[in-house]
Each structure stands twice: as C-alpha cells, then as structure tokens.
C-alpha cells in the first residue's frame, strides 16, 4: 500500500508529472526568450495536456493492439524510474532494491515503446521515424553505458545508486575529476539524444517526416506520449546529476543543479540545427564514445 502511494503520488506519478510539465514550460519559455518571443504562461503545458485528453482518439484501421498499449508501457516504466530515484534522493540509505542497471533499462523503455507504437500504426512516415529512433538508440547507448561504467568504477564497483551517492558525499562529486568530467560531457550528448531535442530531434523531425513516430497518434495516447516526454525531461537530467554531481542533494542545491543542466540542454537545442541520422550515428560512435572510453581507462588508472 505504501509503495502504491509512493508510485502514484510522491515521488512518483503525480509529483513528477507536475515537475516534468513545469520543466517543459522552462524549456519553452527559455527557447522563446532566446528567439525574441514572449513564450507561454506557466500553465500552458497543463492546459495542452487537458485539451488532448478531451480529443477524439483516432485509430488507423490497420493498426494493431500494440498501437494503443505502447504509450502506457513507456509511461509506466518512466514513472517507475521517477519513484525509485526520488526515494533514493530523499533517503539514500534506504535501499529500495533497484540499482543502476534497472534504471538504465527502464530509461530505454520509452524509446522502445515509441518504436513499437509507431511500427504498429503502419504509416510509412511513422516507420521511417521508428527506424530512425532505433538507429538513434544504437548510437547513444554505447557511450551512455561507458559513461555510467566510469561512475561505477569510481565508486569502487557500487551499482546501488544509494552507495554511489554515499561515496560522492564522502569523496566529492564524480564530475570533479578528469575521467568524471570527460564522461559527463559524453553523457550530456547522450541525454540530449535520449530526450530527442535539438541536434537529435531526428525521429520526430516535424519538417521532414511530420513528427514521424507520433504521426498517427491523437487524443489520450498522444497525451500520454507527451507526458512521458515531460517526465523524461525531468528524470534523465536528474539521473545524470545523481551520478555525477551527487555530493549535495539538498532540495535547493538539487534544484539549482537541475536547472543549470536543463538550461545547458536548452541552449544546445537552440544553437544547433538537426543532424541527419547517419551523421548522428557517426558522431556518437566517434566523439562521445572516444571520450567515455578514455574516461573508463583513466578511471581504472584512478584519475
């Protein structure tokens, strides 16, 4: 019962949805200011979501059942991450029974859900989007794993996030070492691809394939995908902060660090055009992989 409350209200679904949607608003507002626009009011994302809930759900004739199920798959897994990570941040010593590897997999599920849903819709543009998303996963997962391995090595093989936080409380944040810094840079690129913003807004490229993966979605399923995206915008940077900047996780510092990382992501997004998928693949397998690989070697050497 207690766990259900954790999952549904705090720090799970309800809390993280609100924070996620507010983070989306920060994204939109900062973007707007950068582009000499005014930007929406703070409640815009909530109203958008409510509006979508009231819309008719249109299902393509040839779509399969997975078309309607996959949004929930993504949402459930990302809320699970929010709950687990939120608990650990509040009580690092209370081992919640989830470790780094579980989080890592759960964070990939929303992208997989998008691919499943898009493929089930049988739209040619959606299939292009799905194939792009799949290639993008292939591209960024390798450097992302390497960057996380650095953290594991630095905290002497701990894969419980609680232990990683404890280690950082004693020895200082992982970021402030050569290997930590290099892997942090690699991780920043990876999370942008995970969030699908700016440079890596490839699967949804609205001017090319009209929101590719999401093209057939409407109403409630679309709202759920949007919500999943908002939650990802909240939890993925948080995940990176816990791993690399986990020394002081009191609410004020955490918020400051989170906003800083968010603004970095937004700035990246607004100062770069979108890459082509082959360029993204080449980029990830060269620079971030090289950085993270070098960081692994350095971390083994103790730097």
């Amino acid at each position: 019962m207690k766990y259900i409350l954790y999952y549904l209200i705090f720090p799970g679904f309800l809390f993280s949805s609100i924070v996620g949607l507010l983070a989306c608003w920060v994204d939109r507002k900062v973007t707007a200011r950068l582009q000499w626009r005014v930007g929406p009011p703070w409640h815009q994302n909530f109203t958008d979501l409510v509006k979508l809930l009231g819309k008719e759900v249109i299902v393509p004739e040839s779509a399969k059942l997975t078309f309607l199920l996959s949004p929930y798959l993504g949402l459930i897994s990302v809320v699970l991450v929010c709950t687990g990570l939120g608990r650990i941040i509040i009580l690092p010593l209370d081992s919640f029974g989830v470790d780094l590897i579980v989080f890592f997999y759960l964070l990939t599920v929303p992208a997989i859900a998008l691919i499943i849903g898009a493929s089930a819709s049988r739209n040619p543009l959606a299939s292009v989007g799905a194939s792009r998303e799949a290639k993008l996963i292939l591209a960024y997962e390798l450097p992302f794993i390497l960057a996380i391995i650095v953290v594991v090595i630095k905290s002497r093989g701990a894969i419980q996030i609680g232990q990683i936080i404890q280690y950082q409380m004693i020895f200082g944040s992982n970021l402030f070492s050569i290997s930590g810094f290099l892997s942090f840079i690699a991780a920043i690129f990876c999370i942008q691809a995970k969030l699908g913003t700016g440079l890596f807004d490839i699967a949804e490229a609205d001017q090319e394939i009209m929101c590719g993966t999401l093209i057939e979605y409407s109403g409630l399923p679309l709202a759920i995908f949007k919500l999943t995206k908002a939650l990802m915008l909240y939890i993925v940077p948080l995940f990176i902060i816990v791993l690399f900047l986990g020394r002081d996780l009191s609410p004020v510092f955490l918020t400051a660090k989170y906003l800083m990382l968010l603004v970095i992501i937004i700035l990246f997004k607004n100062t770069n055009p979108r890459l082509r998928i082959d360029q993204a693949l080449r980029f990830f397998w060269r620079i971030p992989t090289l950085l993270a690989g070098a960081a692994v070697v350095l971390a083994i050497c103790g730097l």
Partner: protein, 402 residues
C-alpha cells in the same frame, strides 16, 4: 531486400506553407526517385488579366505572389513600356530610382525570409525567428515608403505611384545601417557553424551542366556557377549606373545557395544606398501614359528567385490581348528532380526548399475534368493548347478581326 515506399511531402505538409506535392520514392532513408506534382493553387491570373484594363493589371499581378510583389508588376510595366518605346525613354528619372529601391528592398526581405525558413527546415528554429525579426524593419521601410508591408501597389505604367519623401531618406539610411550587423551575424552564423556545414555542404548538388540543362535561374543558377543576372544582362531601373557585383559560387550545393543569398543581401543594401544618394531631390514620378498602342512587349526582371518574365500583346484597346507570365520558381522547382534524388529524406526536405520555391508563382495551368475531377492534361496537351491560342490570336481577338 529493400522495398520502395512513397513518402509524401504535401499537398499539405509542415515543410511548405503552400500546396504542392512531392512524392519521394525511398528505400530506407535514401531517396531513389521523386515525382513533382503541382497545380493545387491555380488561380487563372493570365486569363483574368486579359479582362482588366492596363492600369488594373499591376494590382492583379502583384498578387501572384506576396513575396515577389514588386517583381511581377515591375516586369509587367516593363513589358508595356516596351511597347511604348522602352522604360528608359518614358519613365522619369526619379521614378527609375524609386523602382530600383523598391525592387532591391524586396530582394532583401525575400532572402531574409528564405534564410529563416531554411533554418526552420533543418530544425534550427533560432535562425528562423532571428531572420524574421531582422526582416521586420525591412517591411517597416516598405510601409513607410509605400504604405503597405506587402502588395505595395507602387508600380504603374510610366512611373510609380508614390514618391519617397525627402524627410524619410535619413531614416531609411539609418535602418539600412542597422540591417548590416544583422547580415554580418547571419554570415558568421552560417559560414562558421560546423553543424550547418555538415548539413548543407555537398547536399542537393546541382552541377554547372545540370543547372544549364534544367534551365534554372536566379540564385539557384548562380550558386552552380552559371553567370546570369537580369539586372546586369538586360538592365532596367538604374542598376546599370550603380556599382555592384553579381555573386557567383561554384559548388552548386545548398551551402553555396545560402552563401549566394546572404552575399546578395550586401549587394542589395549597397544598391539601395547608392540609389538614395543619387536620386534627384525633386521631379515628376509619373509619365502619365494615356494610350497603349498596338504591339507586343516583353519585360524581364531579376526577382529574388530568378528571372521573372512577362509578355504583353496589345491590340490598341485598353486591355491586354495576351498576357503571359513565366515565373522563376516554375523553372527552379523542376531541378529538384536531379538535386534531391540520391540523398536522404532529411536532405531532400532542405533540397526542395533550397530553390526558394514559390508555388503561387508556379501555378499556371491546371485543367480539371468535371466528370471525375481528375487532371487530364499532360505537358504536351498544354503546349498544343497554347499553340491553338496563339493561332487564334493571329486571327484576331474574340471574333474581332485584326
């Protein structure tokens, strides 16, 4: 192994604001063929203009396109003045300068508009918003001089409708000065950005030979090294007397097309400045042409997208007997057939946009079969139709003997 699927771009698509239809045949991400289907936006302007009198037509033709809304009336006026004995012989000195200023202002606003849209199409929305922000003062200049942001209604046969007031000139100069840093900014942002280079370099290439074969015009041709510019080759207005360069690039890829357009902004600003300097302080701006004699005339103007051509046939009445428009996008859009094939879908979208297509200009003829609502004419049918029409014109107009 791989199979072809059709990725539709259009008739309604976020890529283009206007209705058009590109069918991309793709294998995976690679575009192997492309079908260009136009004709969703036909408004019968040529026919319409044959039922207006000569002074009404400029208002009609400037509505062919909201972006080139001075090129079309200018080309039309040149065509009529060609019948009358040439622009330079009829139009008063001051009006020539005003015409050139308006024409070049339009080029600035059109190129900035394209720059913004190109940024949008490669997912760089900041460039989009910034380019359009700096385009706004140009539209304000238009409003100051002509009273309108678009569809300026400036051109009339034998002159212009409104004068540029002396008290406006310092402000115009100041606004141009303020525009220069913005152009510098865009030049820096495009030329030095490694990601933009990655996206645009060697993409959608149109070689010199292809450019010649497909008869492209304007910046699209100049980016491929084809040295054409109507302002120099067949001078109109006062461009002959001013000091400016034709911008040429060699590569023919989208990067060169962008560079050509950005560098042309500098030339346009320079042309306007020189015109403002040399423009006579006072004088008439209208030759008050009364009658249009019998005859044929052509007018050519370098629109922002390339050569805009108007043909006028007059039979001595107050209406044109035949009005033919050939707009630049009609020539340029076809070249997508070579430049977009072979790239990926991502490349294709920016390649389609790189010729700065303007479908309003492109739509000339579409015949719809009323029974099954399908287009029934192919290119050859259209040629035959126009030949029949020419024959009819030789005999006389609407039963009136010649």
């Amino acid at each position: 192994m791989s199979h072809k699927i059709i990725v539709p771009i259009g008739p309604y698509h976020p890529l283009q604001d206007e209705p058009e239809f590109f069918q991309l045949y793709v294998e995976g991400e690679k575009v192997v063929d492309i079908d260009i289907i136009i004709g969703y936006n036909h408004r019968g302007i040529e026919k319409l203009s044959e039922s207006k009198h000569f002074d009404q037509v400029p208002f009609l033709v400037e509505r062919i396109c909201g972006i080139c809304s001075s090129s079309h009336p200018y080309a039309y006026c040149l065509a009529v003045e060609n019948i009358l004995g040439g622009e330079i012989n009829i139009v008063p000195e001051k009006a020539l300068y005003i015409r050139t200023i308006i024409d070049e202002l339009q080029r600035i606003h059109s190129h900035l508009l394209w720059l913004g849209l190109a940024g949008h199409f490669i997912g760089y929305n900041t460039v989009w918003m910034w380019a359009w922000k700096y385009r706004e003062p140009v539209l304000d200049m238009f409003e100051m001089v002509t009273g309108n942001r678009n569809n300026y209604a400036m051109f009339k046969i034998g002159g212009v409708r409104r004068d540029i007031k002396d008290e406006d000139i310092p402000l115009l100069r100041k606004m141009l000065d303020e525009l220069l840093p913005a152009v510098d900014l865009f030049r820096g942002a495009v030329m030095d950005d490694p990601v933009i280079k990655m996206r645009l370099k060697d993409v959608g290439t149109l070689t010199y030979q292809q450019a010649v074969d497909w008869c492209v015009v304007g910046p699209t041709a100049r980016a491929s090294g084809v040295n054409i510019d109507i302002r120099r080759d067949d001078p109109y207005g006062v461009t002959e007397r001013l000091d400016w360069n034709v911008i040429l690039e060699k590569d023919g890829d989208i990067f060169s097309k962008t560079i050509v357009r950005i560098l042309e902004l500098y030339e346009s600003i320079s042309i306007i400045r020189q015109s403002l300097d040399k423009m006579p302080k006072s004088g008439v701006i209208d030759a008050e042409v009364k009658d249009i004699p019998e005859g044929e005339g052509i007018g050519r103007v370098e629109a922002p997208r390339g050569e805009c051509f108007h043909y006028i046939k007059s039979d001595g009445t107050n209406q044109p007997v035949r009005h033919k428009v050939r707009s630049p996008s009609f020539m340029n859009v076809a070249s997508d057939k070579v430049s977009a094939v072979g790239g990926t879908i991502s490349d294709a979208t920016i390649t389609l946009a790189a010729v700065d297509p303007c479908y309003c200009c492109t739509e000339r003829v579409a015949v719809i079969n009323k029974i099954n609502n399908r287009k029934v004419m192919n290119g050859w049918d259209l040629v035959k139709l126009s030949q029949e029409k020419t024959l009819k014109l030789k005999e006389g107009y609407h039963g009136r003997p010649k």
